[in-house]
Amino acid sequence: MSFAPPAARATPDVLAVPPLGVVRSSVKMDTAMDPSARLQRAKERLYVLCQAGGWVFFLVLQIVFIALFRDKDTAGKATQADIVLSLVRVVAEGILITHYVRIYLTRWGWKDLGWRPLIPRIIGMALAMSAIWTAAGFALDFGLLRIDSPTKYPLWLLMTSSLVNGAIMMTGWLCLYFFYHLFERLNRLQVGQLQLAATVKEAELRALKSQVNPHFLFNSLNSLRALIDEDAPRAREAVTRLANMLRYSLQSGQQETVPLEEEIRIVEDYLALEQIRHENRLRVRWEIAENVRSGALAVPPMLLQTLVENAVKYGISTRRDGGELVISTCLEGAALNIRVTNPGDLSAPASPAAARAGSSTGVGLRNASERLKLLFGERAALTLLAEPPGCVTADVLIPLNPPAR
C-alpha cells in the first residue's frame, strides 16, 4: 500500500538533491549582510529544512508501512530493497517537482493571494503536480528502466491510484506552504500596525515639544529689549502678543482642534512679533474669504502657525531683502483650503545654516501632515508646491465632513 508508482531498481543518490538556485548563490554572501538579506537567508534555510525533513519523514513512514503491512501477493517479484529504492526515487521526484513549483508560486504572486482565490488554484496545481509526478514515475520505471509491474493490478488502476494519492500529497504540501506564508503575512501586518502606533505617539510628543520655537522666542525677547527704549508703547504691545502666543501654544496642545478664527489671531500675533525683528523685510498679505471667517471651522491647533513659521524661516529669514507672505483661506467644495505662499525655491539645496535652522521645521511639516490625516482621514492633505513661479506654497485641504474616526 504505497502511495506512489511501483518499485524498481535505481541508484539512491537522489536524496542528495541539492537545494537549488537561490540557496546556492546566497551561500557565497558574507556575514556583512543587511538585515533583510539575513532574514531572506534564514527563510531559505527554514525552507530547505522543512522540505528535507518533511520528505524524509514521508519516506520513513512509507518504509515502515511496507515493512508492517506488506502485501504477500505483490511481493512476488520485488525484493524489500527494490521497494525502498523505488520509494527513494519517488521522494526525489517529489522534491524536484515541489522545488520548481515554488519558484513559480513566487513569480505568479500566489503568496499574496487570499484564501478564496487560492483554494481552486491549490487544487488545480496539486492535480497538475501529481500528473507530472505520476507520469515521471511511470515513464522512468516502465519506459526507461523497463521494469515489469511487480503487482497483479492493471496499469491504468495503478496510475489512477497514484494520481489521486499524489494529488492528496501535493495539496498537503501546498497547504502547508501557504499556511506558513499566511501566518507570516499576518505577523508582518501586526508589526506594521505596532510601528504605525509608535509613529503616531512619537508625532504627538514631538508636536508638544516643538510648539514654541526657542529660536523665535529668544530672538523676540532680544528685539523687545531693544524696543523698550526705542518705542515703549510698541514694546508693551509686543509683550502682550508674546504672552498670547505662549498661552495659546501651552493650552492648544491639549485640544484636538481649534476654531480657525482663533488660530488666525495667533498667527497675527506671531507675524507682528516677527515684523518687529525683520521690519520691512517681512511683508504679509491676508486673503481670508468671508464665508471662512464666519464659518466656525475647526483646524488642528498650530497648523497654520507651523506653515507660517516655516514660510518665514525659508522665505524671509534666509533672504537679504526678505519678501512677501500670502496667507489665503477659502472654502472649496466640501473642503477648507489653506494656502501659505513665500518666495523661495523648493528644489534649491538649503544652505548649511538654513538646513540646520530648518531641520526642526521639516519635522514640523511632517508632524502637521500626520496630525491632519489622523484627525480628518485620508482625504486631508498637506502638499508643498513650487508655485507661483519663484515661490513655494504650502497647500492644505481639510474635508468639512470628515469620516467618523
Binding site: 532680544n222 531693544a226 525683520h278 545654516a353
Partner: protein, 241 residues
C-alpha cells in the same frame, strides 16, 4: 578698541550698541547686515573685535571667518538659540553670548579677550602682510571649528583648491589654495617641500637621505615628507643658515 557689529536685525544691533556704551574703551566703527557686507567693511574699517551673529540671511557667521583673509580680528559670537552653534563654541572654546545678552556675561567675555590684544595696531583682513606665528587661522569642518595659531600648523597639504591643515591631532580642510596660504606664511618659518606640501620648520624632527639625492624629513608627531633633489638643495641651504 575698534568694534564692528554684524547682525541682520537692526534692533539686535541697537541693543548691542546700548550694552557696549558702558564700555568706554570700545569704539563702534560700523555695522554690517550680513556676511557680504562684513567682508566689504572689515578691510576698510579694520576692527580689532567683531560681534558676529550666527544666523543671517545668505551665509552664516562661521562662513565670514572662513572667507576672511587672515589675520582675523577677535570674535565674539552672538546667537539667540542654536544648539549646533553652541556645541561648536564650547568644543572650540570660542567666545559667545546668548541673546538677549546678559550685561555681566558681556563684561566677562570682554575681560577674557583684553589681555590678548595687540589691539590698536591690528589690521585684520587686509591680506597684505605676512602672518606671524601668533596669528590665527579659522577653519571649520562639519560641526567643529578651530582658531589655530599659525605656529601650531605642522604641515599644509594641497587638495585641489583647498588645503588640509595638520595641527594637534586634527586635520580639517581649509577653503583656500595652498599657493594662497604659502604667500601669507613667513618664508623663514615655512618651507615648500614639494608640489603638494608646505612644512613648518619648527616642527622638523629629523632628516634622512632619500632616493636620488632627495631628503626625507620627519616631523614631530610622526609624519614624513619627501623632498625632491632640487628642493633638498634649497632645504640644506636654508637649514645651514
Amino acid at each position: 578698541m575698534k568694534v564692528l557689529l554684524v547682525d541682520d536685525e537692526r534692533l539686535a544691533r541697537n541693543e548691542l550698541r546700548r550694552l557696549l556704551a558702558a564700555h568706554a574703551d570700545l569704539e563702534i566703527v560700523g555695522e554690517a547686515v550680513d556676511v557680504e557686507d562684513a567682508l566689504a567693511k572689515i578691510p576698510v574699517l579694520k576692527p580689532a573685535l567683531i560681534f558676529l551673529d550666527v544666523q543671517m540671511p545668505g551665509a552664516d557667521g562661521f562662513s565670514l571667518l572662513e572667507r576672511l583673509e587672515p589675520p582675523l580680528p577677535q570674535v565674539i559670537f552672538t546667537t539667540a538659540y542654536d544648539e549646533f552653534a553652541v556645541k561648536a563654541f564650547e568644543f572650540s572654546a570660542l567666545d559667545y553670548l546668548l541673546k538677549p545678552v546678559d550685561p555681566n556675561r558681556l563684561v566677562a567675555a570682554l575681560e577674557k579677550l583684553r589681555p590678548r590684544g595687540s589691539a590698536e595696531t591690528f589690521e585684520p583682513g587686509s591680506g597684505t602682510h605676512r602672518l606671524t606665528l601668533e596669528d590665527k587661522v579659522f577653519v571649520r569642518e562639519g560641526e567643529r571649528c578651530w582658531f589655530v595659531p599659525v605656529k601650531n600648523l605642522r604641515l599644509l597639504e594641497s587638495e585641489g583648491n583647498y588645503t588640509r591643515l595638520y595641527f594637534d591631532d586634527q586635520k580639517p580642510q581649509l577653503f583656500r589654495s595652498l599657493t594662497a596660504m604659502e604667500e601669507r606664511l613667513d618664508p623663514k618659518g615655512f618651507f615648500r617641500a614639494n608640489r603638494k606640501q608646505v612644512i613648518n620648520l619648527a616642527w622638523v624632527d629629523g632628516i634622512e637621505p632619500w632616493f636620488s639625492g632627495g631628503l626625507l624629513v620627519k616631523l614631530k608627531g610622526g609624519m614624513k615628507v619627501e623632498l625632491s633633489r632640487r628642493q633638498a638643495q634649497d632645504f640644506r641651504e636654508r637649514m645651514s643658515l
